[in-house]
């Protein structure tokens, strides 16, 4: 073997080794548990010093990372390949960091609102974040609108809700928000309120994963609304609450039979409230 051939052969061997290692490497990266992919972000108070003059960019990049992570996970849920629950705590941390870097970033508030309420039920955290955002995005009616919804639907604090809806109305000039301040402020109207909110959110949504999320929840709430209407019709004619959902189906009051898009089964609680075994979430059935 001459000395000029040897480095060439070594180079070919190294290329082959590279190809060989790429297969397990790519497989490893692909099948890496999803939780790991969200990664760890330092506290905003120290992190901001590293961002130099690129705070808005880094904020956007962090939010993009969370949205991509969530989108990937949602796809897997639909494909039923993974039943893993997203790392909501991690998502929330990153969004908080991102909003500290750029308190104007609408994507952060919007996305936090979409999962902090329905999925994680951290209404206080969600509202605190919204109120933080209102200090900066003073022109934006979405934030008080979200806060109003959270107060009325989840927290049942109708006084606060009316206050925020009013502010949303003032900023948007839309009659709907003023009327929301007065309407639906009672228990019976909750499902309609949620349907109105989800319809609006789903319409304005660009991100397919998030949109799909809203649409599924909207579908579930429409089913709940159908059951509630059948239940009320039953009560109106019989003077008492139906004991089971099957009674309503049997009587032909609700057809076709309601289907929970989350894969659970609807049932009636003793007080007549409509519930589902999925608890309105994928993987809700333990």
């Amino acid at each position: 073997m001459t000395s000029s051939v040897r480095p060439f052969i070594l180079f070919i061997v190294s290329l082959l080794l590279y190809a060989a290692v790429m297969v397990p490497f790519t497989r490893h990266m692909k099948h890496k548990p999803v939780e790991e992919k969200l990664g760890y972000i330092p506290e905003a108070s120290t992190f901001q010093y590293l961002c130099a003059d690129q705070k808005t960019f880094i904020s956007s990049a962090l939010l993009m990372k969370v949205i991509m992570y969530f989108g990937g996970l949602t796809d897997k849920q639909f494909e039923k390949t993974v039943a893993a629950i997203p790392d909501y705590r991690g998502m929330s941390n990153i969004i908080h960091t991102a909003l500290k870097l750029d308190p104007y970033n609408m994507d952060g508030y919007y996305f936090a609102q979409s999962f902090l309420t329905w999925e994680v039920k951290q209404y206080a955290i969600a509202n605190k974040l919204l109120e933080y955002g209102m200090k900066y995005r003073t022109w934006d009616w979405y934030l008080p609108f979200f806060a109003g919804f959270n107060y009325s639907y989840f927290l049942k604090d109708y006084g606060k809700a009316a206050e925020f809806y009013k502010r949303a109305g003032e900023l948007s000039g839309q009659e709907l928000h003023f009327s929301l301040a007065g309407r639906y402020m009672q228990e019976s109207g909750q499902t309609e309120l949620a349907i109105a909110y989800l319809t609006m959110m789903a319409q304005g949504e660009k991100n397919q994963a998030v949109k799909k999320n809203y649409q599924i929840r909207l579908k579930a709430f429409k089913e709940v609304s159908r059951i509630e209407k059948a239940r009320d019709a039953y009560r109106a004619s019989r003077g008492q609450l139906p004991v089971t959902l099957e009674t309503l189906i049997g009587k032909g009051l609700i057809a076709p039979a309601p289907v929970d898009p989350y894969g659970g089964t609807f049932y009636l609680e003793p007080d007549g409230k409509v519930s589902t075994t999925s608890k309105f979430a994928f993987g809700g059935r333990k």
């Binding site: 003059d53 808005t56 609408m106």
Partner: protein, 264 residues
């Protein structure tokens, strides 16, 4: 000075660093598609990405051109032939500086136009919640350019005294990083929380540095441009004056130091 300026400008255009860095500018073409990933603020994201790209490119240009321009002249012994011409050392330093500064202005102009086309494309597909303030976007780019021109001044000062390439490059990068946070440190030092943690000596030392080092944060108008928020005119004008005077001080110090430098 004009002659050195033109020669410097010509040198930058024929330099490989410039060509490599400008390849980065091709990224601007992809901004509209990248920005469409946003949920609610596509136009805002496209402005963010555009301004960030421009800022980053100008940072690279100012550090590499600012720190290597004079160093290269000394290292390659061009100074013997140039400084011995009938031009003063001050004209040499100023010519170098204004050559690079003019180049940054041209870069900002070209990239700014490209970015505005990108933003326009994004905003046509997804109209923003608030109308795009083109004036603010231009102001943000102008002030960004101004900030990096000041940074070139820092690089010139360091190259005027340094014999190696490391001090100007790493010194400029460090001063850039520190310059973007001095205001935050200053604000922190004036909170009650800091009084318990920070000793008086450290606080005073930090305050000296605050007045000594450039404050680059005030040149950052990106947030205003992205979210169409009006900055205070007074603040912008003060920043403009601050930048001009700080740069002048840097340049005069550079030319004084370079004037005393021995071309051995």
């Amino acid at each position: 000075m004009k002659d050195v300026l033109l020669i410097t400008l010509k040198g930058i255009f024929r330099d490989r660093i410039f060509q490599g860095i400008m390849a980065l500018a091709g990224l601007i073409v992809f901004i509209p598609s990248a920005a469409s990933l946003s949920m609610r603020q596509v136009t805002e994201l496209s402005i963010t990405l555009s301004l960030s790209t421009i800022s980053f490119i100008m940072l690279l240009l100012s550090v590499f051109l600012g720190a290597t321009s004079m160093w290269k002249d000394i290292e390659r012994r061009y100074t013997f032939s140039v400084v011995s011409l009938p031009i003063s050392r001050t004209s040499y330093v100023f010519g170098k500086f204004f050559g690079i500064a003019l180049f940054l202005v041209l870069t900002a102009f070209v990239l700014g136009c490209a970015a505005m086309i990108s933003i326009k494309v994004s905003s046509m597909g997804y109209p923003p919640a608030r109308p795009v303030e083109w004036g603010l976007i231009m102001a943000a780019i102008v002030f960004d350019a101004f900030k990096y021109i000041l940074l070139v001044g820092v690089a010139m000062l360091l190259s005027a005294v340094s014999t190696s390439f490391f001090l100007p490059v790493f010194g400029t990068v460090s001063i850039f990083l520190v310059g973007t946070i001095t205001q935050q440190v200053y604000d922190y030092l004036h909170t009650p929380a800091s009084e318990k943690v920070v000793s008086a000596i450290v606080k005073n030392a930090a305050l000296v540095l605050y007045y000594l080092l450039p404050n680059l944060q005030s040149f950052d108008l990106k947030v205003y441009a992205i979210y169409s928020i009006k900055p205070s005119l007074g603040g912008v004008l003060t920043t403009f004056c601050y930048g001009g005077i700080y740069t002048a001080v840097l340049l005069l110090a550079s030319s004084l130091l370079f004037g005393r430098r021995e071309m051995k």
